[in-house]
Symmetry: C2
Subunit: 232 residues, 2 copies
């Protein structure tokens, strides 16, 4: 921790993202039903943490807003821990302005309409259903900011069928600049594993990448982001 604190005091390493601020969300969100139950998403956070580390390695000032995961904080990044989509939304707004926003988290689209302050007991009638309401849409909100929109907004689309079609539709609907599409069908190694196979959809030069380590994909994405910012 001392090394980490010292690292933050040092000038950022010279790199292609030196002087740039990057905000990244990672991991799942957990939406409470009561003090012991929640609705969650499967996400290890590994891809988002790898992108944060890669951007930092390129010299960026990185804020990583993380849902509940079991990963060590990437060295040199500011890490903000949150549980719910609403907390992640608030932390993101607070972390702006930034040059780049990367929405890698698997944010829960819905949360329980009611959060019971005590544990719901089975023998008191229990739970027959969890009523849901929509969560704020972090990617769409940041993509459509009138004031202070990051120059580059990158979303992720984890899909199980018609992956590219859904991803392209999501990019248009949310109005982000790029979307990184990956197949998370059961049996693919993307979820929880150390590898990922994605297509980066940019609208002009889509790139289908082979299966690679999440660290490698993070480094590749950091370079592509630097290329884009260099173009202005």
């Amino acid at each position: 921790e001392i090394a980490d604190a010292a690292e933050k005091l040092l000038p950022a390493p010279q790199g292609r993202l030196s002087g740039r601020k990057v905000v990244i969300t990672a991991g799942p969100t957990h939406e409470p039903v009561d003090p012991v139950r929640f609705v969650g998403n499967r996400s290890s956070g590994k891809q988002g943490y790898a992108i944060a580390a890669a951007c930092r390695n390129e010299g960026a000032d990185v804020t990583l807003i993380s849902g509940p995961v079991s990963l060590p904080a990437p060295s040199g990044c500011d890490v903000i821990h949150v549980q719910t989509a609403r907390e992640m939304m608030a932390a993101t707004e607070q972390a702006l302005p930034a040059d780049v926003f990367i929405a890698c988290a698997a944010v829960a689209d819905y949360r329980p309409a009611v959060e019971t302050p005590h544990k719901v007991k089975k023998e008191r009638g229990g739970l027959t259903a969890i009523d849901l309401i929509e969560n704020p849409d972090i990617l769409a909100t940041i993509s459509q900011l009138d004031v202070g929109r990051p120059q580059l907004v990158v979303g992720f689309a984890a899909e199980t069928d018609d992956v590219l079609g859904h991803a392209e539709t999501k990019r248009a609907r949310k109005k982000c600049d790029w979307i990184v599409a990956n197949d998370v069908s059961p049996g693919t190694p993307s979820m929880g594993g150390d590898k990922n196979e994605v297509t980066i959809i940019t609208g002009d030069d889509d790139e289908s990448l082979p299966m690679m380590a999440k660290d490698m994909l993070g480094a590749h994405l950091a370079r592509r982001i630097a290329d884009k910012l260099d173009q202005g």
Copy 2:
């Protein structure tokens, strides 16, 4: 892993539980809504893993049936990984017969009535509610086995209000021998932390323990179990 495999081949250490078989469940269960969403419980698995390690240290043959957690397998224990309550039930039945069954897992009482094989899309109408059905009750089932019931069945009661009252009721309803009651209200260190404060309810010599490390509580419980088995 080689050291671990070697350890399993060695005769069990001489201890007060030597020659005894102990089956322990630990961690949460995750009940799928679709390939990316689930309903889960907050449980780190630390207390169950600590009890498994302590029983092994006393010489027991330990099978640890674990929900999704981020903990290293305790050395010398057989660990079976499961996701859902139904998988945990099946693994428990398969691990019997045993002298002792300790139900430390935070098993989901309910699961989604329907598991959708593809990701439910928000823009296709989405989810307005998750209908729930009851899961099998592992503790009650094992406590009430006509044939092959373990000599000692220990449950856990994580409660947020009237902790001892609810725990005593749970012990009577499920027909386990002992129940370990703890307060998991927000703000207590039990959930996710390294300490726990419990009352062991046995029906004749209840014991309220001070706050202690989960490892220490595991060792204490292993000694009390050995005392009980020694009494026959």
